[in-house]
């Protein structure tokens, strides 16, 4: 079969498009398919990002009021003060412009992140070692507090007291660091 674009080379790529039950077939050679760029469905087909962009566009917090509400309008004009990316552009591209966008769009972000990450919106993983000293200390204190409570529940008061002393020590370290 010949390529339907150039009518010279052999068609090696065959596409079938079905829109509203209407079927269109395309037969292209590699050269013409490449020239068609974005229309070429082989290399850059429907990706996770297209899917994501579609997901972001459905906003449950926007309410179901008829028409385009004022609140919605205001949210759409949200803009990151640092990189100037608008919320609307973020939704369309599904990409942030810089790390400050996370603060700029924070009011809208949790439902979006929940949808993408199976209901989660808070990080519980690794904390960078050099930058996150205070945070690491804080996490350690709260995990020791849980441990202390467990000892109390089990009536292991001596062990609970040991953990309490460890907590005090860490709290003192934290206060010293904050005082500096």
């Amino acid at each position: 079969m010949q390529c339907q674009e150039c009518n010279q080379r052999q068609a090696t790529l065959h596409f079938t498009k079905i829109v509203n039950a209407k079927k269109t077939e395309m037969h292209l050679c590699e050269v013409c398919a490449k020239e068609k760029g974005d229309e070429f469905p082989g290399s850059n087909s429907y990706s996770i990002h297209d899917l994501l962009s579609g997901l972001l566009n459905v906003d449950p917090s926007a309410g179901s009021g008829a028409g385009y509400s004022k609140r919605e309008e205001k949210e759409y004009t949200l803009q990151c003060p640092k990189c100037k990316l608008s919320y609307k552009d973020f939704i369309n591209k599904s990409r942030f412009g810089c790390s400050y966008c996370y603060q700029a769009f924070s009011a809208k972000l949790d439902p979006i992140l929940k949808r993408v990450h199976g209901g989660n919106h808070t990080h519980t993983g690794k904390i960078p070692k050099r930058q996150g000293g205070r945070l690491i200390l804080q996490r350690e204190i709260s995990s020791l507090k849980t441990k202390m409570q467990e000892h109390i529940d089990q009536e292991e008061f001596e062990l609970a007291a040991e953990v309490r002393d460890q907590i005090r020590e860490l709290q003192e370290t934290r206060e010293k660091e904050e005082g500096q």
Binding site: K93, H117, H123
Partner: protein, 362 residues
């Protein structure tokens, strides 16, 4: 250049080493997405800002050393030819996006190519650690150490509640994607995989073909990775993935045993027919080649054919891709030309082996 030399240069050194469970798991990859504070993300950056980011990272990292990392080579995409860039993509050392569209894109590699760090891809840094066989914890440990070393020299964009801030909301949190490449011919041929895949996706894991997003499975190779990156620790993500991969390994192995028990002759016939096609074809498309290589590899694992190296599937799946074929041919090739070169390359490669009929398990 001799074929041995060509293969030796083309295959990443780590691929030649054996790894745990490598009868089923071809390789393990850990990827961490990281960005630096105070630089615009690559999606909105300008040429100047992208250059400034590259310069900053290069100056901070190329002048410090880390024992376990060894020497790093910095390859700027601007300085590479189209074929050289495609070769990096085919070796999974860089992404098509970095090779073609990035501003000031670069890839940083170590000697054995177990580390490949992309600069100015979708995120400022994409740290990737590759290892042979099934090595999720080891791979993460390695990536984690590398990440600590980098963070010691640059300041990451990090938020207490959102974790590592990434360009795309699908990566925020840990920024980690852990992937395992599996060869599952028995589960495919007995149509069990179709039933398993929906369950796997319910556990928040994704299964893709070997070239990642949007690609179809070739040669019965599947990449299984975590989808979610927020709300779970790196260790949790790895444990969940490990659990599923272990079950798939077990299912694949038991199905292979069953097939061998009940269909040994048919299986041996298939393996030798695949070998016959690969060893004698004059023209072969990549899909057909992938399928026969998969069957041949199954035959090697089940001892139905002897005298062929076990990693021939991993090796040839890399070598039969377009850029490698063109490098091998030392010229640009049309699709028909590639099919011919592919057949030649596979035939030549198989001549290096000393084939014997295997007995199989009794």
């Amino acid at each position: 250049m001799s074929l041995e030399q060509f293969i030796s240069n083309a295959i990443s050194p780590w691929m030649k080493n054996p790894g745990p469970d490598d009868d089923i798991v071809m390789s393990t990859r850990i990827r961490l997405a990281r960005n630096l504070e105070d630089f615009p993300f690559p999606s909105t950056t300008s040429q100047e800002a992208a250059r400034a980011l590259y310069k900053h990272v290069y100056e901070r990292l190329s002048q410090t050393s880390k024992e376990k990392v060894g020497d790093l080579v910095w390859l700027s995409m601007d300085g590479l030819s189209h074929i050289e860039k495609t070769v990096l993509v085919e070796k999974h050392l860089t992404s098509p996006q970095l090779a073609e569209d990035s501003l000031q894109g670069a890839v940083v590699l170590n000697n054995d190519e177990t580390i490949s760090m992309m600069v100015n891809e979708e995120d400022h840094l994409r740290i990737q650690c590759l290892s042979p066989g099934f090595q999720l914890s080891e791979g993460y440990k390695y990536a984690d150490e590398l990440d600590d070393w980098i963070e010691g020299n640059v300041t990451y964009a990090f938020d207490e509640k959102k974790g590592y801030l990434t360009s795309c909301p699908t990566n925020v949190g840990t920024g980690m994607r852990a992937s395992v490449m599996m060869h599952l011919p028995a589960l495919v041929s007995t149509q069990q995989l179709n039933r398993i895949l929906p369950a796997v996706s319910q556990l928040g894991l994704v299964v893709r073909g070997i070239y990642g997003e949007g690609s179809e499975a070739r040669g019965n190779l599947f990449q299984i990775s975590n989808q979610m990156t927020l709300g779970k620790s790196e260790e949790d993500i790895i444990e969940e993935l490990r659990g599923v991969v272990l079950q798939l390994i077990e299912r694949e192995r038991s199905t292979r045993r069953e097939l061998l028990k009940h269909n040994q002759l048919q299986l041996a016939d298939q393996v030798h027919r695949s070998y016959g096609i690969l060893a004698n074809s004059r023209i072969i498309e990549s899909k057909e080649a992938g399928n026969h290589l998969s069957t041949l590899r199954l035959g090697i694992d089940l001892d139905l054919i002897q005298g062929i190296e076990g990693n021939i599937l991993n090796e040839l799946m890399v070598l039969i891709q377009p850029a490698f074929l063109q490098q091998f041919a030392e010229q640009e090739l049309t699709a028909d030309g590639r099919d011919e070169r592919r057949a030649t390359l596979i035939r030549e490669r198989l001549k290096l082996e000393n084939i014997q009929d295997g007995g199989g398990e009794t």
